[in-house]
Amino acid sequence: MNIRIPFLCSALILMLSSGMLQSCKDNDFSFDNIDATIGLGSDELALPGGNSTKEIALDDVVSLNNSNFIYIDDNGDYQIKVDGGSQETSTVSIAPFTFKTSSSISSTIPMIQGTFQGKLAALNMSSTTPSEVEDLSSVACDQNINVTIKVPNTVRCVDELTLSLPSFLLIDHATNDGANLSISNNTITLNNTVAGSHTMVLHVKSIDFKTSSNLGSTSFDKNNHRASLTADIYLKGRLSKNNIINMGSLSSISGNATADLTITAATGRFHPVFTYDNFGSVQLNNIPDFLSDKSVNMNLYDPHIHLNFNNSLPIAAKVSGRLIARDAQEHTISSVDISTFTVPTGNSVIVLHKQSEAAPQGQTYVTVPGLGNLLKTIPDHIDFVDIKAEADNTQTTEVKLGHDYAMTEQYSFSTPLQLDADAAIAYTDSIDDLNKTVKKLSFKENTVGDPTSINGSLKLEADITNRMPAYLTLTAWGTNLQGDSIPQSQLSVVVDKTVEAASDTQTPATTHLTVTVKPQSNNVLHSLEGLQFRFRAAASNGNNAIVGKTINAKKQTITVKNIKLTKTGKLIGNFN
């Protein structure tokens, strides 16, 4: 046998075998050709329930951000307090005025043996009064009326001379030729007045514009700012026979009077006006994160604005103004008119507040119902402007003329954090960096190739025990890789109810809450980058309102129990 044939057969067998192996190769079955789309779990999967948190106090989750206007006091209550900065001062002064003699009438009085009398002199005086003077009751002056009496030499002396002046002139001191005279009821008596010229100096202490007299008159014309007086000086004399030198020609006593009365103080009604640019500005810096959300409505239940005045004017002041809340670009956010209130003399504290309540001793409360509007949206600063401050012209008081009277003011804003009926605060947070996980995940499509034909969702259930006196509303939404919000029509996040509020910390309210997240399309899931959520705490749920309760950072807690997470819909991982 040709041995080559067997060897050829052997070689052929080996070749055929190799060829068979090669021809049986199915290249579709290749490690490079395997789609790594893998289902993760069953159609529905619930993670172990019974998850829970510790009691969560507000202070655990929200930050004050080093705010300059909100702090936590020793009891844990949130307090809002901000000072208005430096004091504001305004000064008023009522200028002194002088009664000048417009005319002086000199008279002569014939002397006779026995008694004689007549008007010795008359003063007509007037003055322009400052515009602040509304009415004069009396004025004070430290000035003299000079009266000259001339006794003729036809007599040795006059036994007795009696001068009478109008009762509205308060003469408190008189001299005659330097010698003191006694005064009684504005009457001065001179004895044994020798012939010659005698000068009497009558010190006028005050002029009473409310007293009438038959020896003169006073008047005050408010509209023309004029005050005037007419004063007659009446003389009575007694001449005995012994003192007559020449009985045939007794002649007369003559006299005149002069005076310039500068008024140094006045009693009456006055209307000086304090001028202020503003009452200062309070700056609100570093807004805490639970007050910075756009849904926040900081309509506080009873905010207080403390105005500390020191009014040196002996007249109460009537003050009004406007509080304007502005943003950093000086745009007005809100404004509240402050109606006129009275600032008494001396130190006082005027408290502008929202609710009607009795003022504690030492303070004056002024109710401003709209005061809560100032912080509905937290402004950058609050200015107290359009100040009108003027003395109460209904009061009669004495003022020193030419004296500077100052009124200083400093205001501060304070209130415990108490929500009014429409108020709400909000805490927002987010879960980020989801895309690196979820971009590989999808829900199973009922129609392959149609990413919207999915029916998957994630449901979170929990029992929330709330010790806050506020209704809690949770909203959540997704954000995409560009940071934009994903509309609810694409990623539905439904929260079934609002968490009930606690009426007090001893009586918490428990609510079973369900949150369902449902993407409408796998494309939405692949673009999901983050989940934003907002807890909004409001005083009202639309039906009931809990107002006037102070929010506490430590004692008002939220506890979440029985947390359960359920996934519905087949979840698929694409690990290609």
Binding site: I13, K25, D26, D28, F29
Partner: protein, 466 residues
């Protein structure tokens, strides 16, 4: 995780890759092929007409894989192709498959691989019979997985999964065999082989009582992982790691080191066989093969520290670190727990163990056509006894010797895993013998030459005869 951790799965993979690449225990398609020089490996009572010497390492190469699930059950046609995916294939875990588990057996899913390479072999007539001398390298690996494991992988939900036990076994040794067969009388022929076994490596890995309970508010995983490794120079490399939540540290196996591989154990085995020919047309044969054991010098034992992992959520969780017991803190506790559950720790060398070989039994009946004696038919029953991995097979063959230097046959087979067919071509001119055959048609293979059905067999050899 940045560090390498030898979990049970990695250990399994290492063994599988190391020992499934090759070779079977004998070409059963050639049981009735007279010119096949290695019939004595199937029945030591069978001898040869010629003396032979194997070409070293090429005399008899057998590779066989068997299983009741295969690559094509794990990797399936992709329903998303071509519209939603450019890849034609996908895993059975693809949720768009209509019946992802159809390729898996509802009881046990088994895959095994056997290999034999004859390093040296020779046969010669002497002492009244036929004698054989062989040095063979043998390997056998098996994996047995419960159906529930695949169901859990596809559809894990809020349910209880009694997954059961998972088994991986691999046995590797060199045998030095001396065989002798002789005719007792005209009808009976007997034979036997004595084998000295030199153990190379044995691995026996189990995860016992694996359960997953994902119902209610407490999830539990249970599994008792046990790994017995016997190999000279085998050492687990461990790393010490701090616990995240509790004080202290733990060690875990993150690598292995084989320092000076060699003979890890010694054993003995025997093959016994007999052939009975009541007449020239009928022949009945039976053989018991690989009756033996290996005693291993070491038993490197590893197990998971905790048999259970319990997850019951996060309780009384602090929002910030000052409150304590935050979600991160509790997650660290679970991390420690799970590390104790799935990491293996080195329990040390238990001092040795003895493993039995997977004995085999072949029973054959042969009938030669009286009208044409070049054709004969055979029916072979082969059983492999290997504990949980025992399998059995029936093979009906038709054999033909058209020329005195050429013979071959085809056969149909049905076994524990599948039904298939095999063939053998044996070319044996003077001075040379080459054969090629398959106990199972390989069928289709992947691009990486992995049989798609897990049932494949290739045998080939080249020998010098004289």
């Amino acid at each position: 995780m940045k560090h390498h951790i030898i979990s049970l799965c990695q250990l399994l993979l290492i063994l599988a890759l190391a020992h499934t690449s090759a070779f079977a225990q004998g070409l059963r398609s050639a049981y009735f092929t007279d010119g096949y020089l290695y019939q004595h490996t199937l029945n030591p009572a069978m001898g040869n007409d010629q003396n032979y010497v194997a070409i070293p390492a090429l005399g008899n190469i057998n590779a066989e894989a068997h299983g009741n699930f295969g690559y094509e059950d794990i990797v399936r046609d992709n329903p998303l192709y071509p519209t939603e995916s450019g890849k034609k294939k996908t895993s059975f875990m693809n949720p768009y498959l209509s019946d992802p588990l159809k390729g898996f057996n509802k009881s046990w899913n088994r895959v095994g691989a056997d290999a034999n390479i004859t390093l040296l072999s020779g046969g010669f007539k002497a002492w009244g019979g036929y004698n054989t001398v062989e040095i063979n390298a043998k390997s056998s690996s098996n994996v047995k997985l419960p159906y529930e494991l695949f169901r859990f992988a596809v559809d894990a939900g809020n349910d209880t999964y009694n997954i059961g036990d998972l088994y991986v076994n691999s046995q590797n040794y060199v045998e030095i065999a001396l065989g002798h067969s002789r005719d007792i009388n005209r009808q009976w022929r007997v034979g036997a082989k004595m084998k000295l076994l030199l153990g190379v490596a044995d691995a026996d890995i189990q995860m016992k009582d694996v359960t997953a309970n994902l119902t209610g508010d407490t999830w539990t995983l249970h599994g008792d992982a046990q790994a017995h490794m016997s190999m000279k120079g085998w050492k687990y490399k461990t790393e010490e790691k701090e616990y995240k939540a509790q004080a202290g540290s733990y060690s875990y196996i993150n690598d292995v080191n084989v320092d000076g591989a060699g003979i890890g154990g010694v054993g003995l085995a025997a093959d016994l066989g007999a052939v009975f020919r009541p007449d020239k047309y009928w022949e009945v044969s039976a053989a018991l093969l690989d009756l033996g054991f290996i005693h291993w010098n070491n038993d490197c034992y590893a197990t998971n520290r905790d048999k259970d992992f319990t997850f019951d959520g996060f309780h009384d969780t602090g929002i910030k670190s000052s409150q304590g017991n935050t979600a991160d803190d509790q997650w660290d506790k679970y991390s420690d727990q799970i590390a104790q559950f799935y990491n293996l720790q080195d329990e040390g060398d238990k001092g040795g163990r003895t493993t039995m070989l997977s004995a085999r039994m072949n029973i054959g009946v042969r009938y030669t056509l009286p009208s044409y004696e070049k054709i004969h038919f055979g029916l072979l029953s082969a059983t492999r006894f290997c504990g949980k991995h025992t399998w059995t097979e029936g093979r009906l063959s038709a054999n033909w010797e058209p020329l005195n230097w050429l013979d071959g046959g085809v056969n149909l087979t049905a076994n524990t895993f599948s039904t298939n067919m095999g063939w053998i071509i044996n070319v044996h001119p003077k001075g040379f013998n080459v054969f090629f055959g398959m106990d199972h048609l390989i069928g289709k293979v992947s691009k990486e030459m992995i049989p798609l059905s897990s049932n494949a067999s290739v045998s080939m050899g080249m020998n010098v005869t004289f």
